[in-house]
């Protein structure tokens, strides 16, 4: 790319049209099933504590904050949408831009479009079916549908039990399966190694020609999902893959304020240990959970990636009008 063609969009006009069509159909879908469209603030005084996410920060100065106030661009609208649910909104969805610092490549742009929705009364398996319905409607033809638990997936592809294998065993697996450079990687914990194995050896093979839902993640990867207490506790979380690309992430939502506070604190502790920026935990979300979040499932779906799959384009920079380097 040269300075002279930098003004031009990185997406073709027909892809820009395909996006508009996709957005219109999504709104029709939710209108038909009675889910309300909402907007929530992009800038918040609180940020996500998730160590896997880095928030951008901006500063507001003016009436109400004479000396200035730090605000964070949301990495997903989850916290604010849960506050709406706790306030009795009923089922809601949102289409918005979200922002994640440090993520750029053929499948990442630091600002991207997310579709997020919440369904009080539906469990996460029912929500997976709804995700599939939406996508089949958008593409105009039914995709093959596969559902597999995280444990079954790793047993099938790597002959591993992801809930019990220790770090040494996971590392050994990465080396013997030929991930180049695995022997010299310094990963912090079991989840780091599981992420390495998933992203290098399994993900590229998922959802080829259809949809693969992976569900019931290790409890250590629960994020904001409820943990089901069994002999081996699992996080009631799911991910959708299409053509080897992670498209959506959903939860049976954690409703306990006490448990949420504990996870925020654990996250903050891990951020400190790995020298990441400290961020304020969302007190408003905690208060909303204490007031009562209805039992619900929720999912965040990356619209740029979905558009990649729907249009058969290979690089996310070709589906956004102006990627990071042209923004």
């Amino acid at each position: 790319m040269t300075a002279t063609d930098e003004w031009q969009p990185s997406a073709a006009v027909e892809t820009i049209r395909a996006r508009a069509e996709m957005l219109a159909r999504i709104r029709q879908f939710f209108n038909r099933i009675g889910v309300l469209e909402v907007e929530t603030p992009i800038c918040s005084r609180y940020a996500t504590t998730d160590p896997a996410l880095e928030s951008f920060s901006v500063r507001y100065t003016g009436p109400g904050a004479a000396r200035g106030r730090d605000l964070y661009l949301h990495t997903s609208p989850e916290f604010a949408m849960k506050r709406l649910l706790a306030a009795g909104s009923g089922p809601i969805y949102q289409i918005c831009k979200v922002f994640r610092n440090g993520e750029y490549g053929s499948r990442h742009n630091p600002e991207f479009s997310l579709l997020e929705w919440y369904r009080p009364g539906l469990d996460y398996h029912q929500l997976m079916d709804e995700v599939a319905q939406l996508i089949n409607g958008l593409s105009g033809h039914p995709h093959t549908l596969e559902k597999v638990s995280y444990a079954a997936l790793l047993a099938q592809h790597l002959d591993l039990d992801p809930h019990s294998a220790d770090t040494a065993r996971l590392r050994q697996c990465a080396i013997t399966r030929g991930i180049p450079g695995a022997e010299r990687l310094a990963l912090e914990n079991r989840d780091g190694w599981l992420d390495l194995l998933m992203s290098h050896l399994i993900e590229p093979r998922l959802g080829q020609g259809g949809m693969t839902f992976v569900y019931d993640y290790p409890a250590s990867q629960a994020a904001l999902a409820r943990i089901r207490k069994e002999s081996t506790p699992v996080a009631e979380r799911f991910e959708l893959y299409m053509e080897g690309i992670e498209i959506a992430n959903g939860f049976q939502e954690l409703t306990s304020a006490e448990e949420q506070r504990r996870r925020f604190k654990d996250d903050s502790h891990r951020r400190r240990e790995s020298h990441q920026t400290a961020v304020p935990m969302d007190q408003n979300l905690l208060a909303a959970l204490a007031a009562g979040l209805p039992d619900c499932s929720g999912v965040a779906l990356g619209l740029d990636r979905l558009l990649l799959v729907l249009t058969g384009v290979a690089d996310i920079r070709r589906v956004v009008t102006f990627d990071l380097n042209r923004a």
Partner: protein, 203 residues
């Protein structure tokens, strides 16, 4: 640009690069060898650890390999640069080159010269890749003009050029030439494909 700082002992210290600086063409050290990044892919699960999957060429062996780094890791840069140098001569063991500006000379071994040797004629300008000042890759000019030292002369009359015949050039290289090319003629060869281009024009 790579910047070499000078430490207290007066030795060059190479910069190190974080994965955020990875891009095609960046020269880094890997397992003791200088390498050049060909491709860099950012891989990250939505809720997990980020990695950089990198395709790299080992500049000493020419081999292409893949490597996965944890995003945010740093690697040592390699003091590698390319420069045009004049090929002087070979003593059979080393090939000697001269920097036309500084008149400094360097010698390249068989591993560095490799297949390029068969295209190199004394006085020709070659592209030399230096690592810590020593040649590790020598590339001949894209086109060279070389004399035919031997070819089958007994095929007259056919000027169509179809099929052709082998010809040995003054540097020892063997290329296929049209039937009309004779011993003693100068021809132009594309060194990337090893193919005959034309008869050399008399200047």
């Amino acid at each position: 640009m790579m910047c070499a700082a000078i430490d207290r002992l007066g030795e060059d210290v190479m910069a190190s690069y974080s994965t955020n600086e990875f891009k095609g063409g960046l020269k880094i050290m890997l397992d003791g060898d200088p390498c050049s990044i060909i491709e860099n892919e950012f891989v990250k699960p939505g809720k997990g650890q980020a990695f950089n999957r990198v395709k790299i060429r080992n500049l000493k062996t020419g081999r292409v390999l893949e490597k996965t780094f944890k995003s945010g890791e740093s690697v040592e840069g390699a003091d590698v640069h390319e420069t045009e140098m004049q090929y002087l001569y070979t003593d059979g063991e080393f090939w000697h080159f001269m920097d036309p500006q500084s008149y400094e000379q360097v010698s390249a071994d068989q591993a560095a010269v490799a297949e390029s040797a068969k295209w190199m004629k004394e006085q020709d300008m070659c592209l030399v890749t230096l690592w810590n000042g020593a040649p590790i890759i020598v590339e001949p000019p894209k086109f060279v003009i070389l004399n035919v030292s031997d070819t089958d002369p007994g095929l007259k009359g056919d000027t169509s050029g179809s099929g052709g015949k082998p010809a040995t050039l003054e540097t020892g290289a063997v290329v296929r030439v049209p039937l009309f090319v004779q011993i003693g003629e100068a021809i132009k060869v594309d060194t990337r494909s090893g193919e005959y281009v034309s008869r050399a024009k008399e200047d």
